[in-house]
Subunit: 307 residues, 2 copies
């Protein structure tokens, strides 16, 4: 791609927000297509899956899948399917994390959480159904004609979502309520709980685009840095914002006695750290040129957003 037709000029922060909103809208449409339709008495669990997955949200993970796949010219109909599958996994994790036995949250994205809108049993099953459906979508030929590509995405997702990935991160998060964690442990917790799924969204965009393993590793590393910055920004928002800004309860982590970078070092140093993580993330994109501008903007967005 030459300078003249590079899309860099459209990726001002304002244009980035349009771009993010555009991918979010396409992700919603695709989720609507790919989620089961309610039928029979068992429709209740399907309605809960749809309630939780079609409720908006920034759709950051879908954006990262699509933006990374775009680096390699991968067709949008494929990348948006993969993006929807990743978002199903994210939504499943939110449903389960919000349960009374976990973080016990009543509000999510400005609406009652799944177990409040339905009930606890239905919410557990809706999470199970979304996780299962994500693997189903990634396995379908429409996602990519080459079974090896589909398998590679499934393997990467299973590792990132599993016991030493996202599930392990939520386990650590629960342990953090009753046990003091040091900086290294907080960093490990956050890289598992939030970082893994964000990083694998980037990696899977690369896999979908037949990128070399080294490039996929670099995209993964980019995602880990972005995810860490995102988490600190989240904690800062949690501290500063009101519930109506966030669409969820504010100040809960501090009330639960959970260690964050803010509780360990104060907001100033936490803010510096998140900025330095964004710089690291952006520097990992050095080889990519103008095509990576959406990813650079995404990294910057993580620390400038207000919700």
């Amino acid at each position: 791609m030459t300078e003249s037709d590079a899309p860099a000029s459209i990726e001002t922060p304002a244009a980035f927000h349009d771009h993010l909103a555009q991918v979010a809208a396409e992700t919603n449409d695709k989720l609507n297509d790919l989620l089961p339709l309610p039928r029979g008495k068992e429709r209740r669990v399907v309605e809960a899956m749809r309630y939780a997955a079609l409720d908006g949200g920034k759709r950051l993970r879908p954006f990262l899948v699509v933006a990374c796949a775009d680096l390699f010219g991968e067709p949008k109909p494929r990348s948006i399917r993969v993006a929807a599958a990743l978002e199903m996994v994210h939504c499943y994790s939110l449903i389960h994390d919000d349960l009374p036995a976990m973080d016990d949250d009543d509000l999510r994205r400005g609406r009652p959480t799944c177990h409040k809108a339905f009930d606890e049993a239905t919410a557990i099953l809706a999470g199970d159904g979304l996780l299962t459906q994500a693997f189903s979508v990634l396995g379908e030929p429409a996602t990519h004609p080459d079974a090896n590509v589909r398998i590679a995405m499934i393997a990467a997702l299973a590792e990132a979502a599993g016991a030493y990935g996202m599930v392990g991160g939520q386990m650590l998060d629960l342990i953090a309520e009753s046990e003091d964690l040091n900086e290294q442990e907080v960093s490990h917790l956050q890289s598992l709980k939030t970082g893994c799924l964000i990083a694998v969204s980037c990696r899977i965009g690369g896999i979908l685009g037949h990128a070399d393993p080294g490039i996929c590793d670099r995209l993964h590393e980019f995602g880990l840095n972005l995810g860490a910055a995102f988490q600190i920004a989240d904690d800062l928002l949690d501290m500063e914002a009101s519930a109506s800004d966030l669409g969820k309860a504010a100040g809960k982590d501090a009330a639960a006695g959970k260690a964050t970078f803010i509780s360990l070092y104060g907001p100033e140093r936490a803010r510096e750290r998140s900025k330095s993580l964004v710089d690291q993330a952006v520097s990992l994109l050095d080889g990519f040129g103008a095509e990576a501008e959406p990813l650079r903007q995404a990294a910057k967005f993580t620390v400038t957003r207000h919700s």
Copy 2:
């Protein structure tokens, strides 16, 4: 295979029990290999996964995977990996079904249920971790060198375990606590809740053995009949046996007001129905000869077992 070297002679009921125990032992060894090892503070969820998955049980689904794959001469090291993956999914479903928000069971296979031995949050996460790990194992090249075979198994499993499979069955089971179901609805509930995973264990054995789609469908149908017979037998045991025989609370379904074939038609007609389902299952194996003897014995076992 000719009459002279057919293994039919070893599949007396007693030999079948040895065969079942042998596959169960190999499944346990393979689960032990394939489950993550405890490390770090997040080890708690891994310990819960191992507690729930390595606790014995009949391992009927693994047996069916192996016996179906054996029909096509598929090497045991492959079929036992697939068998272990299917058992992970079964164990995840038991953990979640036993939760206080679901069936609220304290005892499973003669031991405290996962949420009793650990806690509710850890049990939810352990179930999530097992489901994810199952897809991970099926995706690994060691399971089968051909990515198309692995993808076909993943697709079949995801369908069977999803919202219009096992998850939907558990949803219906919860609805059945407060709503009267008719015979057709009870049959549908049981085919989803128990039948789907048993049937897909048979189908996946066929997929692993490169069986024609028509043959895979026949094995699936065999599994559905066997699963339905198994469920009725389970309900009869639930009615008749003591908790110490079953290793779980007895008479719970009746106490919860859930419709079963027994509550609808009484134990005699339920027993007849389960025998006729076994006959149907066995007749689906007509083309297979002596190699299918383990599957025939498995079908008969479902109605003669005592736990």
